[in-house]
Symmetry: C2
Subunit: 208 residues, 2 copies
């Protein structure tokens, strides 16, 4: 998982996101959930992997036509009519971006040193912040309850940071610096995707 | 899902279970979890599908050598040495049989008319019985907590029975009679697999 921190997302000339580069970058993220250390998170990893596979299948069907994420949304909108946006790679990316936002907020919160002073070595507070901002509103009360239960499987802070830099001897401050570095292009990418969904009127807020 | 009730398991001459027939029969079971009506159960369906895929891959690698489930266990035991039984199709079937037992106990309890008199149209009591007997002891407290949360997503009794006989107009008593019929060979098959694991000393009780 040194991977995550060594795999920078690409900068985006004029907010266009190249599908190929994006897919290559996000393919390193599912192992992030292994850093959480419990098999309980396997369904989340599988869900995100499913999103990536779906977007990749659309891209591979015509790499020129689907060269940017913007083109995917535009073309799918014209293909699918009233079914859109709850369909195709548009739907997969709609959910994927929420998982990416979750990861982004969690890492940002850790890098900023946000802590529960009573339990300084737990990261529940950081995970809960990320969940509340990125996902909670799309989850019905049952999935929210499942989240609360799964939260107990979260690792402690030091184990999580070690997992993120696995196979490397890295001091905590170096790890946090690496996270900050990683977040620059990553956050810009996630923001750009959210903006695109907003501009294209492609965001939905149904519950699962 | 009329499927489930129309797809009888095969009788077993002298307790030998033919792998090919078994795989064909269990392949109709994952949709059972769709009858529960909520996407919350998708990870369970995926887990069971994974077990089936794994056993099928071993079978397909040499259909003669792996003709019966018994042969799979015997051969894998000799191949894998001390890694066995937490490996290969032996491990996949170890977990699959627990999911099958869960389905069996749930259907049996419904067919027997077991009910929560205060909530006669709920099936939580039947699901909980099946969970307690088939799975709970293999789950750590966090997964048990997740189960308790997921239980709220269970459908009411009438919806569940209707889903089981989808696309057919069937009165409740006919549905229950079909379940009884289905359970005969199904229960015998599940029992035989449990017996085989016991005889072969292949059962493990680690927690997930
Ligand atoms: C024996 C006991 C049994 C108990 C039963 C188990 C119950 C388990 C319930 C687990 C829920 C797992 C999380 C998955 C949730 C998913 O339902 C949602 C929506 O998922 C989307 O749905 C769409 C259709 O509406 C398409 O199919 C999308 O697919 S498509 O590609 O086909 O278009 C798909 O991603 N994704 C999500 O909510 C995204 C989740 C991202 C998670 C980010 C991290 C959270 C970390 C938490 C850390 C504490
Ligand atoms: C945003 C919110 C996020 C929250 C995070 C979500 C957390 C969700 C946690 C969900 C757990 C899902 C159920 C899956 C559990 C699985 O962990 C276990 C063991 O699974 C086995 O593990 C082995 C290795 O030890 C091999 O990999 C097996 O795989 S192998 O084929 O490779 O050998 C595999 O089946 N199977 C099980 O416990 C079996 C489960 C059968 C279930 C039967 C029905 C229960 C019905 C309940 C109805 C109410």
């Amino acid at each position: 998982m040194a991977l995550l921190l060594d795999q920078q997302f690409a900068p985006m000339p004029n907010n266009e996101i190249a599908t190929k580069t994006f897919l290559e970058s996000v393919s390193h993220l599912p192992p992030f959930f292994d850093c959480l250390g419990s098999k309980v998170f396997a369904p989340i990893k599988a869900d995100i992997n499913g999103n990536i596979t779906k977007i990749k299948a659309v891209y591979d069907s015509d790499p020129v036509k689907y060269e940017t994420l913007q083109q995917i949304l535009l073309i799918e909108k014209s293909i699918y009519g009233s079914e859109w946006p709850k369909v195709g790679a548009t739907l997969a990316l709609m959910w994927l971006k929420r998982g990416l936002r979750f990861i982004q907020i969690l890492l940002q919160s850790l890098a900023d040193g946000e802590r529960d002073e009573d339990n300084p070595n737990l990261i529940r507070i950081n995970i809960t912040k990320a969940y509340d901002q990125a996902l909670k509103r799309y989850h019905g009360w049952i999935v929210q309850k499942v989240f609360k239960a799964a939260l107990f499987a979260a690792p402690c802070r030091s184990d999580f940071l070690n997992a993120l830099t696995k196979d490397q001897e890295v001091a905590e401050e170096d790890c946090l610096a690496k996270i900050h570095q990683f977040l620059i292009n990553f956050t810009a990418t996630v923001d750009a995707i959210y903006e695109m969904y907003s501009i294209m009127n492609a965001e939905l807020d149904y519950l699962v």
